[in-house]
Amino acid sequence: MVAGKRTGAAKGSRHNKKYWRKGTDITDIEDAIHVKSREAATGGIIDDMKDEDIFTVDRTSTSKKSEEPKLTRKQQAALDKITRNITIEKTALPKPTGKVLKKPAKLPRGNASVKPKKAKVVKKKEGFDVWTTDLTPTIPKNKTLDNEMAAEHYLKIVKKKQPKAPGKAITTLLPAVEVAQGGASYNPESAEYEEYVGRIAREEQKLIDSEEKTKRGIEPQWEKVTTDHERFLEMAEGLRIHPKFNEEEEAETSEVVEEATVKNAPVSCERLTKEQKKKKAKAQGIEKEEKRRLEEKAREKDAHNVYRTKQIHKELDDEEKERHEESEARKKKKVLNKLTKRQKLGRGKFVDAEDPFLLQEELTGNLRQIKPQGHVLDDRMKSLQRRNMLPIGGNKAKKLKTSLKHKIVEKRNVKAVVKGSRVI
C-alpha cells in the first residue's frame, strides 16, 4: 500500500481491526479477479491450460541446413538397430534358478573379435652369465634413430642407460670376516685360552674402573651426610657425658675437622725495607744491561750472516726437505687412517661388539655339548659399521631453554594483608 493514499477509516491506527476492514487496499485483488473472470468467459483460464493447447510445434524448417552426409548401407543398418533397440520395451530376463558362482565374462565391445586369453606363463628365471652377456640397453625397433648420438641421448632420457658411474672410493682395508682368535676355540689350548680371556678381563676391569671414577666424581668429596649419631652429639654439646664415650667421640670429631678444613694461607702484607728496595732496583738494572748486551750481540751476528749465506741456504734447503717429507708422511697416515679407522658417520657412537667367551667350567671339550656364544648377525652389523659402510644413528641433542617464562606468585605474607589489617 502506498503511504499517501490513506482515506477514511484508514487514517486511524493500523493496529485496530477497523483498519483491517476498511483501510486495506484491495484494488490488486479486484483487478486479478476481473481478469480471471474475463478469461473464463472467453475460452478458458490460461494458467490451467496445457502447453499443447496453447502452442503448436513448428516443424517446418525456416533456414536451409547443410545436408547431412548420406549414410552408407552399413551405417544405416547400424542406426536402425540402435533405434529399434531404444524403442523396444525392455523386459527383465528371468532370474537363474541355480547359484551363480561367477560373473559371466564381459563380451567384447563393438566389433572387436574375441581373442583366446593366454594363460599367464610363470617364466622360471633361467640362470645366465652376467659377465659375458651384454646388458647394454637397445633402442626399440619402432624408433628409427640411425644417429648414434641421438640413440644414446634417447636412452639416457628414458633412463634406460645410465651415465658413467663415478669412481668407487675404497671404504676400507679391513677384512670382511675377521676370524676369531685361537683362544675362542671350542676346545682351546690352555695358554691361548688364558691369554684370550685375560685380555677380555682386562678390558672389563678398565670399564669398571672408569665407572668407579665417574661415580667418585659425582659424589661430594668434602661434604658428609650428617648421621643420627652426629646429630645427637651436636644436641648433646656441653652436657656431661661419661668419659668412656667421650674419649671415642673426641677422637672421631678431631679427625673430621682435620679432613674438612682447607684453609688458604694467610695473606701477608709486608712492605719492603729500604735495603731491599735498593737491592731490587740494582737487580733490575743488571737485567736491563744484560738484555741490551744480548740484543747487541744478536745484531752483530746478523751482520755477520752475510758471510755465511751458502750455509744458510743449505740449512733452508734441508729444512724444506724435512718439511716435505713430514707432510708426505702425514698424507700417507691420513689415508691409512681413513681406510682402517672408524669415521664419524652420523650422531651415534660406535660401540664395538664384545668378544664372546666361555668360562673354564663351561668348556665341555666336545662338539655335542658346546654352548654357542655371541651372535653372527650382531657381529656382521658391527663389522659393516667398522668398515664405514653404515652410518650410526643417534638422538638429536636436546636444546636447553634459553628464555624462561614469567610466573606470578602471590606470596603468603602478601596475601595476608587485607583491608583493615593493621601495620605493626
Binding site: 659377465w131 633412463k159 676355540s185 676346545n187 690352555s190 666336545n366 654357542p372 652410518p391
Partner: protein, 531 residues
C-alpha cells in the same frame, strides 16, 4: 680475471659433499627407500676432511655423501620402482578396506618388482671382483638360512639363502677347494680357495641362534637381497666352469617340476650325494705338474702338494655319522677330501651295521664297538683338514679327552711359545718348523753344561816356565764379548727419537721370552705330574 667477491661455500668441501637430508630432498625419496637404494647400489657415506666447511659453518654430526654419488643415484631406474611400490601399497590398503578380494588378487599379480642384474654387473664389472666380495655375502646368507621367518624376513628370502648356500657348498665339494676350518664358540669358520681368491666365511652353530634385539633387520635384509642376486650369478658361473648343471642335479637328469619338490631339495641340501656332470665339458685333471716340480722346497710346489693331499685325504673312506654329530659341517669336509658319507635315513641310506664303513664319527661315549672300523670324534675330521693329512685316531677315540683344537688362521711368530702339539701339527703340514723351534728359549737344564776345565796345578814357589808368545785369543768368548761391545756402541749411536722404540722392542722381546720360558716350564711340570 680472478673473482674478487667469491661467495662463501661455493667451492671445495661445501659442494663436494651433500648431507643425507639434502640427498633425500633431491631424490624425493623417504629415508627408508634411500637407505635401501644406497645399500643396493653400494654407495657409502664419507666423513668430510673439513667438516665445518662441508656443513656450511655448523659442526653438527651429520651423515655426508659425495655429491657426485648422489647425482649418479638420481639416474637409477629402481627409484621409479620404489615409487610404484608406494602406489601399490596405497592401492592395496584402499582395496583391503573395501574388501574387494578379486581386485586385491589382481593387484598382487601386478606387484612391481625390480631386477638387480644390471646393478650386479655395474658393481662387479668382473667375475674376480665379485669373488673378492664373497665373504660378506656368504656369511650373511649362511646365517639367514638358519633364521625363522618373520614379518621383515620373508620366507622366500630364507629359502633362496638356503638354496644358494647349499649350491655354493656343492661347488666347493666338487672342486675340492676347502682349505681351512676352525670351530670357535661363535660359529664355524671356513676358508676356501676359489679361482685363487681366499674366501672366508662363518657359519653359526646349528643349535641356538638366539634372538637378537639390537640389530636393524631391515638393513641386513637389503644387504641379503642384493647378495642373493649376486650369489645366483656367481654360482651359475662357478658351476659352468667345472661343468656342472645349474641348477644342481643329482644322479640322472630330472625335470624342472621335480626339482621343486621338497624331497629333491632335501637331497641336495644334505650334500651327501655327488652332483651330475655335463657330458659336453671335459674334466680337467691337474695332477701332472706335481711331478715336474719334484721335491722342490719352493712355496708354489709346497702349495700344490698341500692341495693334492687335501683332495686325496679321505679317498676310499666311508664315513658313518652318528645322529648327534653336526651333519652339514662334517659332510662338507669329508666330501671335500674325497670321502663318502652316510647316516641313518640319509640320502645314501647307510646302515650303522654296514660292512663297508671305515670310519664311525661319534660324539658320545660308546659301549659297543665293532672291530673292523675306526671310531673318532667329530673334531678329528676338522683337525685332519687343517693338518692336510689323516691324523692318528688314538687321541680322538670316543670318550677320550680331545687334544686342543687350534686355529689354522693364526700364524706363529718366531720367539713365541708354541705348544708341543701345535709344533707337531705344523711339522705334519710340511712347514719348516726348525726356525720356530730354535727360537723357543731353552730352560737351564736344556742348556749344554759347560765343562770345567781341569787346570794343571801351578807348582809352588819360584820356578821357571818356558815363555809363551802373546797371541790374540781365538776363543769364542772373546768374540762374543767384542760383539757385545760393538752392539753397545751401536746402541749408543741410535738417535734419541729411535732409542725409545728400540728399548720398548727390546723389553717386549725379553718379556715374550720370559713368558715362553714360563709356559714351557709349566708344561714340563704338568707332563711330569701326569707321568
Amino acid at each position: 680475471m680472478k673473482d674478487r667477491f667469491k661467495q662463501k661455500y661455493t667451492a671445495g668441501a661445501a659442494v663436494a659433499y651433500m648431507s643425507r637430508k639434502q640427498a633425500l630432498k633431491k631424490l624425493q625419496l623417504t629415508l627408508k627407500d634411500f637407505r635401501r637404494l644406497c645399500i643396493i647400489k653400494g654407495i657409502y657415506p664419507h666423513e668430510p676432511a673439513h667438516k665445518k666447511q662441508a656443513n656450511k659453518g655448523s659442526t653438527a654430526n651429520k651423515v655426508f655423501y659425495y655429491r657426485k654419488d648422489i647425482n649418479f643415484l638420481a639416474h637409477e631406474p629402481i627409484i621409479n620402482k620404489f615409487r610404484d611400490y608406494k602406489v601399490f601399497l596405497r592401492k592395496l590398503n584402499h582395496l583391503k578396506a573395501k574388501k574387494e578380494e578379486d581386485k586385491i588378487k589382481k593387484l598382487y599379480e601386478n606387484k612391481p618388482v625390480y631386477n638387480l642384474d644390471t646393478i650386479v654387473k655395474e658393481r662387479f664389472p668382473t667375475f674376480g671382483s665379485a669373488l673378492r666380495d664373497m665373504d660378506d655375502a656368504l656369511s650373511l646368507c649362511f646365517t639367514f638360512a638358519m633364521l625363522p621367518h618373520t614379518r621383515v624376513l620373508k620366507e622366500g628370502m630364507i629359502d633362496s639363502c638356503r638354496k644358494l648356500t647349499a649350491e655354493f657348498m656343492h661347488y666347493v665339494i666338487e672342486s675340492q677347494s676347502l682349505r681351512n676350518t676352525f670351530i670357535s664358540i661363535k660359529g664355524i669358520y671356513y676358508q676356501a680357495e676359489v679361482h685363487g681368491e681366499k674366501i672366508t666365511w662363518v657359519v653359526p652353530h646349528e643349535r641356538g641362534l638366539p634372538h637378537v634385539t639390537d640389530v636393524d633387520f631391515t638393513v641386513l635384509v637389503t644387504f641379503v637381497e642384493f647378495y642373493i642376486a649376486m650369489l645366483g650369478f656367481v654360482n651359475f658361473k662357478l658351476y659352468q666352469d667345472i661343468g656342472l648343471f645349474y641348477p644342481p642335479q643329482i644322479g640322472q637328469i630330472v625335470e624342472a617340476e621335480e626339482q621343486e619338490t621338497e624331497d629333491y631339495k632335501e637331497k641336495i641340501y644334505s650334500l651327501a650325494k655327488p652332483l651330475a656332470k655335463r657330458k659336453d665339458v671335459e674334466q680337467v685333471e691337474d695332477s701332472e705338474p706335481l711331478d715336474l716340480l719334484g721335491e722342490d722346497s719352493d712355496a708354489l710346489a709346497q702349495k700344490v702338494r698341500e692341495t693334492k693331499s687335501i683332495k686325496t685325504m679321505f679317498k676310499g673312506a666311508v664315513f658313518y655319522l652318528n645322529r648327534e654329530c653336526p651333519k652339514e659341517a662334517l659332510t662338507f669336509i669329508i666330501r671335500n677330501g674325497g670321502g663318502v658319507v652316510g647316516w641313518e635315513g640319509g640320502p645314501t641310506d647307510l646302515k650303522a651295521d654296514a660292512k663297508n664303513i671305515t670310519y664311525h664319527v661319534v660324539d658320545r661315549p660308546m659301549d659297543k664297538m665293532e672291530v673292523n672300523r675306526l671310531y673318532v670324534q667329530p673334531q678329528w675330521v676338522f683337525d685332519c683338514l687343517n693338518a692336510r693329512r689323516k691324523l692318528p685316531t688314538e687321541k680322538y677315540m670316543p670318550g677320550v679327552a680331545l687334544p686342543p683344537h687350534f686355529s689354522p688362521f693364526t700364524s706363529e711368530k718366531a720367539g713365541d711359545y708354541i705348544p708341543f702339539e701345535r709344533l707337531e701339527e705344523l711339522r705334519s703340514m710340511g712347514k719348516d718348523v726348525a726356525e720356530l723351534e730354535a727360537a723357543i728359549p731353552k730352560t737351564m737344564d736344556e742348556l749344554p753344561m759347560r765343562k770345567k776345565e781341569v787346570k794343571p796345578e801351578k807348582p809352588k814357589g819360584i820356578h821357571i816356565v818356558t815363555g809363551q808368545m802373546h797371541k790374540k785369543s781365538k776363543e769364542k768368548f772373546h768374540e762374543t764379548v767384542e760383539k757385545g761391545q760393538e752392539l753397545k756402541m751401536r746402541e749408543l749411536m741410535i738417535s734419541k727419537k729411535h732409542q725409545r722404540v728400540y728399548h720398548s722392542m727390546k723389553t717386549t722381546f725379553k718379556r715374550n721370552r720370559n713368558d715362553a720360558l714360563k709356559l714351557k716350564k709349566k708344561a714340563k711340570m704338568a707332563k711330569a705330574a701326569a707321568v
